[in-house]
């Protein structure tokens, strides 16, 4: 799993590549939360375009970041999920809660 994080305007953009499972979810969570706390970003964009595999550990990661952004009055957006990842997002109901970033 590879994770690139950069601040673009008021948004923290997290580009994920590889496979998201329980093995890497905790480290990812730490990396993202640290940057959110440092940058005080108003929104968080998670770019899933490079994710070839994700299981429910990834759902936990996304749900956790959604709650975190809600608690601080910010918002979470997801970008470019692959069909397999989108199937999981749809099943979990996350697609009804979290907006989609379409410009990436």
């Amino acid at each position: 799993m590879n994770c690139e994080i950069e601040q673009v305007g008021g948004a923290l953009v997290v580009k994920l590549k590889g496979e998201i499972d329980q093995h890497c979810a905790e480290e990812l969570r730490g990396d993202i939360d640290r940057q959110l706390d440092i940058k005080h970003s108003a929104s968080l964009i998670i770019d899933l375009g490079g994710v070839d595999f994700m299981d429910s550990s990834g759902l936990g990661l996304i749900m956790g970041r959604y709650r975190k952004m809600q608690a601080r009055g910010g918002k979470l957006l997801l970008a470019r999920p692959t069909p397999a990842v989108d199937k999981l997002l749809e099943l979990s109901g996350i697609n009804r809660l979290v907006g989609r970033e379409r410009t990436k």
């Binding site: 499972d21 994700m54 429910s56 397999a84």
Partner: protein, 193 residues
């Protein structure tokens, strides 16, 4: 036609990727679609993760994985993931969507829901202190694709079974070989067998 494999791995999280890749490689012999293969790999990942984080929570134990593929008109992949961990006190409750025993660890509580949705059958048996067995199966509809291939190529339906068995018959003079098909992401070799 029947094929099978057995695997034993220690309950370490780095083995989640190995387990789903191994089962995916086995399942790829049946020439599943990309979506079918993704469903199988995701379900295996969920079952193995459950054994690691719940079954063997404070220790390292052994996870036993068995796969069987049976081919008749359709191909059925049956997968069993078993641990000898702490067991699940209330299986029915554990299978409810969003139920988790570790909300502070950001578990989604969707593991069993994913398995139920992505596989055709799911059976979970568990006994406190003795472990948990998850059995699941999925049909890979070779028959339907054989008909599509027959229409397109004029080759007999048995060609797909030959593909599954790994037979490499050479086409007779004037006969058309199977067309290149979109390969799934995990293949054992160029011919998938």
């Amino acid at each position: 036609m029947r094929n099978y494999m057995k695997l034993e791995i220690p309950s370490k999280s780095l083995n989640e990727a190995f387990a789903r890749a191994a089962v995916g490689a086995f399942a790829a012999q049946t020439d599943p679609t990309v979506e079918e293969l993704a469903d199988i790999k995701t379900s295996v990942s969920e079952a193995v993760t459950n054994s690691i984080i719940h079954g063997y929570r404070d220790t390292v134990g052994v996870i036993y994985i068995e796969c069987e593929a049976r081919v008749e008109n359709t191909c059925v992949i049956e997968i069993t993931v078993r641990d000898e961990g702490v067991g699940i006190p209330d299986v029915e409750r554990a299978m409810e969507p969003l139920f988790t025993t570790a909300p502070d660890e950001e578990r989604s509580g969707m593991g069993f829901t994913v398995m139920q949705s992505f596989m055709d059958t799911l059976d979970v048996t568990s006994e406190k202190g003795k472990g948990t067995t998850v059995k699941m199966s999925k049909a890979i509809n070779i028959g339907t694709r054989d008909e599509e291939l027959e229409t397109r190529t004029g080759l007999p339906k048995s060609a797909s079974e030959a593909h599954f068995l790994g037979k490499r018959s050479q086409p007779e003079a004037g006969e058309t070989s199977l067309p290149a098909r979109k390969r799934t992401s995990v293949g054992i070799g160029d011919d998938g067998c």
